[in-house]
């Protein structure tokens, strides 16, 4: 463990660890195979209040710091990152409301989540991934309501959410300045949940299309001023990158834990393989990357807690950590040898689970462009 935890953080981590190990872990393998997480497993998280961690106290939430929230999600991700991201995604949506919404909108959102539910963030479209300004979904004003139309894709918690923050073009001709954000109830007439993605990894996480057909929302459901949606989404995503990174740290830590345990037990040539220098080098490099990643996540979280803009730091964090995670999980499979390639052992899943971390919340290639653009400005 590379961080200096407070007593409170230690207690919270022990609590979450106990729950995740006892109640979630035994069902992960089966859920991974089926590609969905049973509802009963989420109940454990709701009972503990994991859905309220980041919701401010003024709205009845726990109001934990980003730093402590991230530690808790790393702990959950050790058991299953798909389970963890289901809870994290509520906050990806929430952050838009906190950043730009009214008090009433914040309370509305919190009240939707409190009884035990999830939220989703609907930005991506089939032809608007790294380039959200290319989105085609529209919001047309009609009296004091907007009429929403369009199809969103790869929506985490698509079928689980009770509320979404969605992005629509209020001025289709205006490019990214024509995008506005809305709070949309999942049960609003015209909202349909599309097909569930059969994914390579994070298979406990629900990912679907979301179809909006003449969905009417009150004009007061708009988050922030008209046309500010693109900027809002980018600002909210800046805060979300270190959070996906913390999940990747959890996956890596699990990979390291499993690998060390195995290397101590597995004997070849009459010796536990951990005594062989080639294996030692693999393990040491894994430990180095886990430790460095965790420190980077923690520092980014502490900057966010101070209210510092983390456009560059969030991108650096997410890119570095998710790149490390590929190597660490791949080497875990290497240490397990043939058994690592088998689904009977836990490490191949970690390799599958971590690939998407180089893709979502902005592909790592986009992150490098962002980092370079900020550098360009900084050195002017």
């Amino acid at each position: 463990m590379s961080l200096l935890y407070t007593e409170e953080q230690k207690e919270l981590l022990a609590l979450v660890r106990e729950m995740a190990e006892n109640e979630i872990k035994p069902y992960v393998k089966e859920a991974d195979e089926k590609g969905e997480c049973p509802k009963e497993l989420f109940k454990w998280g709701f009972d503990m209040g994991l859905h309220m961690l980041e919701i401010p106290e003024e709205y009845g939430g726990t109001g934990l710091s980003y730093e402590t929230t991230a530690m808790i999600f790393e702990e959950l991700a050790k058991v299953d990152a798909g389970y963890a991201i289901t809870f994290v995604t509520t906050f990806v949506a929430l952050r838009n409301v906190i950043l730009a919404g009214t008090k009433e909108q914040g309370q509305y959102f919190a009240d939707k989540i409190r009884p035990g539910s999830f939220a989703g963030f609907a930005l991506t479209e089939p032809n608007a991934g790294s380039d959200p300004a290319a989105m085609r979904s529209t919001a047309v004003l009609d009296g004091d309501e907007y009429i929403l139309n369009g199809t969103k894709t790869f929506i985490t918690n698509g079928a689980l959410s009770d509320v979404f923050v969605g992005f629509f073009k209020t001025s289709p001709a205006a490019g990214h300045k024509g995008i506005s954000a809305f709070i949309i109830d999942a049960d609003a007439p015209g909202v349909t949940v599309g097909a569930h993605e059969n994914k390579m990894g994070l298979r406990l996480s629900n990912t679907t299309d979301l179809i909006f057909e003449n969905v009417r929302v009150k004009a007061s459901a708009m988050v922030g001023p008209e046309g500010s949606g693109f900027k809002l989404a980018l600002n909210a995503l800046n805060l979300s990158r270190a959070f996906v990174a913390t999940l990747a740290v959890g996956i890596m830590q699990r990979a390291l834990d499993e690998s060390v345990k195995y290397a101590k037990e597995r004997k070849q040539f009459g010796t536990p393989i951990i005594k062989f220098q080639m294996v030692q080098a693999l393990l040491a490099d894994m430990a180095i990357k886990v430790e460095a990643s965790r420190c980077l996540v923690n520092n980014t979280m502490r900057m966010m807690d101070q209210g510092i803009m983390v456009q560059k730091e969030g991108s650096i964090c997410k890119t570095f950590v998710s790149d490390c995670a590929q190597e660490v999980t791949s080497n875990a499979v290497q240490i397990f040898g043939g058994y690592g390639f088998s689904k009977e052992y836990p490490v191949e899943k970690l390799m599958r689970d971590c690939k998407v971390f180089q893709i979502f919340e902005g592909a790592n290639q986009i992150q490098r462009m962002t980092i370079a653009n900020v550098l360009d400005k900084e050195y002017r």
């Binding site: 207690e11 919270l12 609590l15 979450v16 106990e18 009972d47 209040g49 726990t62 808790i72």
Partner: protein, 262 residues
């Protein structure tokens, strides 16, 4: 409904190792936990509160470190916690402990139900909780699985060797819970944070002016420990094998006869 739950801090016996040379328990570095059966008792109390409303008060006798288990109880949902602590209470056996706890409970609000675990995993006597009922003159039901309230009566399902007894009793009552009673809930994050900051009031000898000091502490304890030792391993048994039950029975009778037992 006013519910009092008695809890004890115990060493986590699953973590205890035996010194291979001295044959004694290695107690250093062993984490302290809430006695698991007391956790079941707490869950019983919290379930009663969820169902019928009321207040759950937890009480523990021990040194200041025992506040840790009281905090844990608060994090799980208990409303109030008290530590019963005083130098004069040190060295108490189950008789003295149950007397002191009964006096402390009297000091709290009137109670409807007192709960405790069926026994503690360190001493394993199972005497303290039932003795509290004796000191207070209330009914007691040990090894209960659950409680249902019906007006001024309580219906308990009680686990006994022969099966399950269903017993009706009147309030106030003391009950002890077992592992089979329930699955204790986890703390919530919010309550956990609050519990770490909670002030835990102490009940000391000075708070019990009407209590009889001669029934407290080492001097008030009729139990005298003569010696503690690890029992010698007795000789191993013998497995009699054979192809048919008759063959095995014949071999057994032969052995008993040889040993002049038959």
């Amino acid at each position: 409904m006013n519910i009092v739950v008695c809890i004890k801090q115990v060493p986590d016996t699953t973590e205890i190792k035996i010194d291979p040379v001295k044959n004694t328990l290695i107690r250093t570095g062993v984490p302290s936990i809430m006695n698991p059966f007391d956790k079941n008792a707490l869950e019983t109390g919290l379930t009663l509160k969820d169902r019928y409303g009321g207040k759950v008060t937890v009480i523990s006798m021990g040194p200041p470190q025992a506040k840790a288990v009281l905090r844990e109880a608060l994090s799980m949902g208990a409303d109030e916690a008290y530590l019963v602590t005083d130098r004069a209470f040190g060295g108490s056996d189950t008789y003295a402990t149950s007397y002191i706890l009964s006096q402390a409970i009297k000091k709290l609000d009137d109670f409807d139900v007192i709960l405790g675990g069926k026994q503690a995993i360190d001493g394993d006597t199972g005497q303290t909780a039932p003795s509290i009922a004796e000191h207070l003159g209330t009914a007691r039901l040990t090894y209960i699985l659950d409680l249902e309230v019906n007006g001024d009566k309580v219906i308990a399902r009680r686990q006994v060797e022969e099966g399950i007894e269903v017993i009706e009793a009147r309030f106030p009552i003391l009950c002890t819970a077992t592992k089979e009673s329930n699955k204790p809930r986890y703390a919530t994050i919010k309550r956990k944070i609050a519990s770490l900051k909670a002030e835990i009031p102490e009940i000391t000898l000075a708070d019990l002016p009407d209590a009889d000091v001669s029934k407290m502490g080492l001097k008030g304890s009729p139990t005298k420990v003569k010696a503690t030792f690890t029992p010698k391993r007795s000789a191993c048994g013998v497995t009699i094998e054979g192809n048919t039950p008759g063959e095995i029975a014949n071999a057994l009778i032969g052995k008993l006869a040889d040993g002049k037992i038959l």
